[in-house]
């Protein structure tokens, strides 16, 4: 059956090329298509060589397509992280189920086989339940704040210990009941792992769970002695691990802090008792501020994505530029809800690439910026991340907009951002708040500036 194996090898090659492509902007899209082609090849090959039940398999695939494609097509850009989390979870579940089924079929196989099976079941379950919780968090079905169970640390350690015991006991006894128990322990472990992760850090948890699913797939490749699964799973595992690290670096914090930091963090001091005052402005106030500025910096955040205000922002920027005002965009690596979120949105609105500035481009000269327009961003400009060691986001690099000459916040309320941390900049004398939906405000502002 050499052609089968060659087809699998070709698919593995496609996956490598896909990853390579996805890491260079130029070939990213082609890379993804190559990956899809490889997947199609692999699936058709598997289907052609599957012994039996072709009709049922085909039906299951069709149902999967019917469910998956519309979901992926219709999801809003802002909701993509939770979608990725869901897809990741179902992948992990599938890996665990495959291992479970193979175990039931193949009673009495070698020890190494059972070890790999148990590992797949464990990692797959962790990935499944962990991804589900991240989904619930991102979709805001549950709180985005870290959830700390009473002595949650000990529960976590306990469940991990039970899992470890089961991981050894299952191969030793070969019992299916223990394997099912292991799956349950894995599910609990996944939940316990993600619950204490702070809202802002959930994407990193997704990336890590993504790597987990990859490893589960690789382990199931051992179980099935299928090199394609081994190669593809390992690729995802390795690249996911590196990506997780890169993302943590972009947040400016070590990974352990992100995952387990909540256990140590001091609960934020309830500063609400102070009743500090804020200054809220009208559209006209802000229009005048902008109209007479020389340089403007737009810092977009998650709110821009929610309001789908990217086009309005671009139009305002163009209007200002036509009046001789220099306008730049300050793109924080973790603005929005996924890395590169702002780049994607602004690219969609045809903002020229040169105008997108990173932290290091902006901060040194930020003192000479006349007006910073913070459009639906909050955490990424919170000076607490720089100045208050007690803050849960302490250590994350931010745009030092408090050093600019004036700051305008466009948001709907005084509610904090994703991290749930209060932002002292909102109460600063040089800050003007322009309440309302970002798109509305920008559109009104556009009209007002035209009137000047």
């Amino acid at each position: 059956m050499t052609w089968v194996q060659l087809a699998y090898l070709a698919a593995a090659l496609c996956f490598i090329l896909a990853l390579k492509g996805l890491s260079t902007p130029k070939y990213a899209r082609v890379g993804n298509l190559v990956g899809a082609a490889g997947m199609a090849l692999a699936v058709v090959t598997a289907f052609a060589t599957a012994g039996d039940h072709h009709v049922l398999i085909a039906v299951a695939v069709v149902v999967g397509v019917v469910v998956g494609v519309p979901a992926a097509r219709q999801v809003k850009m802002t909701a993509i992280p939770q979608m990725v989390a869901l897809f990741n979870g179902v992948g992990g579940a599938a890996a665990a189920l495959v291992a479970l089924a193979e175990f039931l079929e193949n009673t009495g196989a070698g020890v190494l086989f059972v070890v790999a099976t148990a590992l797949t079941v464990l990692i797959g379950s962790v990935s499944f339940s962990g991804s589900l919780v991240t989904f619930l968090k991102l979709q805001e079905i549950m709180t985005t704040r870290p959830v700390l169970l009473p002595s949650g640390q000990w529960i976590g350690i306990g469940v991990a210990a039970v899992s470890a015991v089961l991981l050894v006991a299952t191969p030793a006894t070969g019992s299916a009941a223990l394997l099912v128990l292991l799956a349950v322990a894995g599910l609990a472990l996944g939940v316990l792992f993600v619950l204490p992760v702070g809202g802002a850090d959930v994407p990193i948890a997704i990336s890590l769970l993504n790597a987990f699913t990859g490893l589960a797939v690789a382990a199931s490749g051992y179980v099935l002695e299928n090199t394609l699964l081994i190669v593809a799973g390992t690729l995802v595992g390795a690249s996911g691990t590196i990506l997780t690290r890169l993302m943590a670096q972009a947040m400016g914090r070590p990974l352990t802090n992100i995952l387990f930091g909540a256990f140590k963090a001091v609960p934020p001091a309830a500063a609400s008792g102070e009743q500090r005052t804020v200054r809220s402005g009208t559209v006209e106030d802000v229009a005048i501020l902008l109209g007479y500025a020389h340089s403007v910096l737009v810092v977009p955040g998650y709110g821009l994505a929610v309001a789908q205000a990217q086009h309005a922002a671009r139009e305002l920027a163009q209007l200002l530029e036509s009046r001789g005002i220099s306008v730049d965009y300050g793109i924080h690596p973790v603005a929005g809800r996924m890395p590169g979120h702002m780049n994607v949105l602004l690219a969609e609105a045809d903002v020229p690439y040169e105008n997108l500035k990173e932290l290091d481009d902006v901060n040194p000269g930020i003192g000479s910026v006349d007006v910073v327009l913070v459009v639906g961003a909050n955490d990424v400009v919170n000076p607490g991340a720089r100045d208050e060691p007690a803050s849960p986001i302490y250590g994350m690099p931010i745009f030092d907009v408090d050093r600019a000459k004036a700051v305008v916040f466009m948001k709907r309320s005084m509610r904090p951002g994703f991290a749930g941390v209060d932002n002292s900049l909102l109460y600063h004398p040089k800050t003007t708040l322009l309440f309302g939906d970002a798109k509305d405000s920008l559109t009104k502002l556009l009209a007002a500036v035209k009137q000047l």
């Binding site: 260079t24 598997a46 780049n343």
Partner: protein, 91 residues
């Protein structure tokens, strides 16, 4: 067995090397692209279902096929949607 282990080690290196210097902008597409790739478990699911002898395995297998398919198609479609936007900005 040693061959499979060697394959594993080499794939680890390939994964590390390929991704190690990617820019922030591409983190999300890369994450979701990798996500789609691990949907290859669909191959395993199909094979196991094809050989299922009893009802339980068959049901587990079919469930796995369904879930893996969602993973695969969803992953590739979402990634493509994201990258489409990047393309737009090359204009």
């Amino acid at each position: 067995m040693i061959e499979l282990l060697t394959i594993f080690v080499l794939a680890v290196f390939v994964g590390f090397e390929v991704v190690s210097k990617v820019s922030t902008i591409l983190h999300t597409p890369l994450m979701s692209g990798a996500n789609a790739i691990h949907g290859v478990i669909l191959v395993g699911a199909i094979l196991i279902t094809g050989h299922a002898d009893d009802a339980l395995t068959l049901v587990l297998g079919l469930l796995a096929v369904f879930l893996a398919t969602v993973n695969v198609v969803g992953g590739f479609v979402v990634t493509d949607r994201m990258l489409e936007m990047f393309k737009g900005h090359k204009r």
